[in-house]
Symmetry: C2
Subunit: 309 residues, 2 copies
DNA sequence: CTGTTAGCGCATTCAG
DNA sequence: CTGAATGCGCTAACAG
């Protein structure tokens, strides 16, 4: 055909909004430019940040992301994993999976590229992004010890979560390292949200020998603890110090602003996607394993130990 | 083959984790069981709730959702829309689009099923889910008037957004209906976040004749306003009433807890997906158009007008 | 370097 | 009712 006709045809095609069918392309090339993201719950601000980090990094590299909320239910997680693979996603990022190693790896086809967030890889083909939860909790405890606190309570989340265990052991480890007594009644479990924090804090406050400071599994629990102190008439930080973990937005908005350990959610997500992109680009590369650091943010919910002053 | 062999083959297939290739199926059936969700920003708690509502309803119906953050940038939105269509999603939900009608409809192929959230449909083939923003703002103003306030400031968001305009006109409309004077200097624009609210509130508080109450475009701005009051020494609600809009989680956690207009984000998302599913199921159905109601939640940031008492 | 063809893995159609 | 052929729209390998 003449070059002129050709041009006209191309322009018309453009005008009519023609776009190549990505399904057909995917079938032919075995590349969909789509990845799957499995998280417990997008409504949890912690995972919201991760999601945004993943999406930005993905978009930048020409990938789309399919969002899956597992609600920490193993069956839901497995169903999503199957679905994602049947949709031929190029890779999958799984956050805070609660599946046993066995079920997790059997739900993933051997060839699928996977990056785990907040969980040790279950085989040698997965990348991983680990937040330094243990170090974060340790820094929080050290901060309280520096302020003179010796009886430090810990509001634990649900013990089945990886982050929970890492943070708990950061707490215990630090107490031991410093040589402080560990009173088992100072560690209480509850759901990792505001209500759970409230309940757990009340239990601690009603102890015969209550702690002078409380470290909380996450900021949401810390907010609940703040409220518990308020309702029982304990002034924060004068009579009770409270420190959270995560550094979500509410932590700076509550009264008093929360001393917390900032965990860079956005960056975690971004790194996860970058690790996945590396796996996707180069098969034989050494597995990406990144550790995301945490940072102590001192605000107004912690102060010197009253008895100690 | 023998039925026994057959059984064994099927079992092996099952064990090896075989799953049908959704790409190939999609190519053949022209149905991908995937939808696209375009929102400004998942980090905004308002959209987080919508997203979860969409995802739940989608999952329940066997759909996956591709998440797209547009950051309210027209080019980004258009790019995503093209991408989603090239991936042959069955339908698209677009939240708070800032595109002009022309560009929005030309970015969508005529056959694609679309549901708009917080925006009037631009043609007769789209479904829509509208939050009753105007009614919500009106209820907030009425609440303040009932408390005796006559000078009511309004912290407006960016005037290019649909929600902003609806809320602003709810405010103006109510003042007019009651017969209260409208002082233009009582309406200030700023970015719809904590810092924007802080700045805007300061401007209002420094007026020669400051208002006795402030209505804020959203809860984030209201939190900023609360802080502004604190920093300028105005007691809330004794010297200044503040009301927010949205009912996100922070609104109940700040001090004092915010009186606000609750907008059911989750339900908005859910309804949007249900509307889309209807469009997908039945071509000739009357277009789903749903209006989501709002609800006044009175907490502790509003009180009687001091001069009036 | 351009133009043609086979095949990706399904669903659907048609024949047996 | 079961089994083989056709095509979905694209890319890749191939031939001209």
């Amino acid at each position: 055909m003449s070059p002129e006709t050709r041009k006209r045809v191309l322009r018309i095609i453009e005008e009519m909004g023609y776009q190549t069918n990505a399904l057909a392309r995917g079938l032919a090339t075995r590349e969909t430019k789509t990845i799957g993201l499995v998280i417990p719950d997008i409504m949890n601000p912690y995972f919201t940040g991760i999601t945004r980090g993943v999406e930005d990094a993905a978009n930048q590299r020409g990938y789309n992301v399919i969002l899956c909320n597992s609600d920490e239910k193993p069956e839901k997680e497995i169903t999503y994993l199957r679905l994602l693979q049947s949709k031929q996603v190029d890779g999958i990022i799984v956050c805070s999976s609660r599946l046993e190693d066995e079920r997790l790896s059997s739900s993933l086809s051997r060839s699928k590229r996977v990056v785990l967030v907040n969980r040790e890889p279950v085989n040698t083909q997965m990348g991983s992004v680990m937040v330094d939860n243990q170090g974060g909790a340790a820094a929080a405890v050290s901060h309280l010890i520096d302020l003179g606190h010796a009886r430090i309570g810990y509001l634990n989340g649900r013990p089945t979560s990886n982050s929970t265990n890492a943070r708990l052991s950061g707490y215990k480890e630090t107490l031991r390292r410093i040589g402080l007594a560990q009173d088992p009644e100072l560690v209480v479990d509850d759901s990792p949200d505001i209500n759970g924090g409230h309940r757990a804090a009340i239990r601690l406050l009603r102890l015969k020998k209550p702690p002078t400071a409380m470290l909380c599994f996450n900021d949401l629990m810390a907010v609940g603890a703040l409220r518990a102190c308020l309702s029982l008439g304990r002034a924060v930080p004068d009579q009770m110090s409270v420190v959270g973990l995560d550094g979500i937005q509410v932590s700076e908005v509550v009264t008093p602003p929360l001393t917390t350990i900032r965990v860079p959610q956005y960056d975690t997500g971004r790194q996860a996607m970058e690790a996945l992109a590396k796996l996707l680009a180069d098969e034989s590369l050494t597995l990406p394993k990144v550790v995301v650091p945490t940072e102590l943010v001192v605000r107004s919910s912690t102060g010197p130990c009253p008895n100690h002053a």
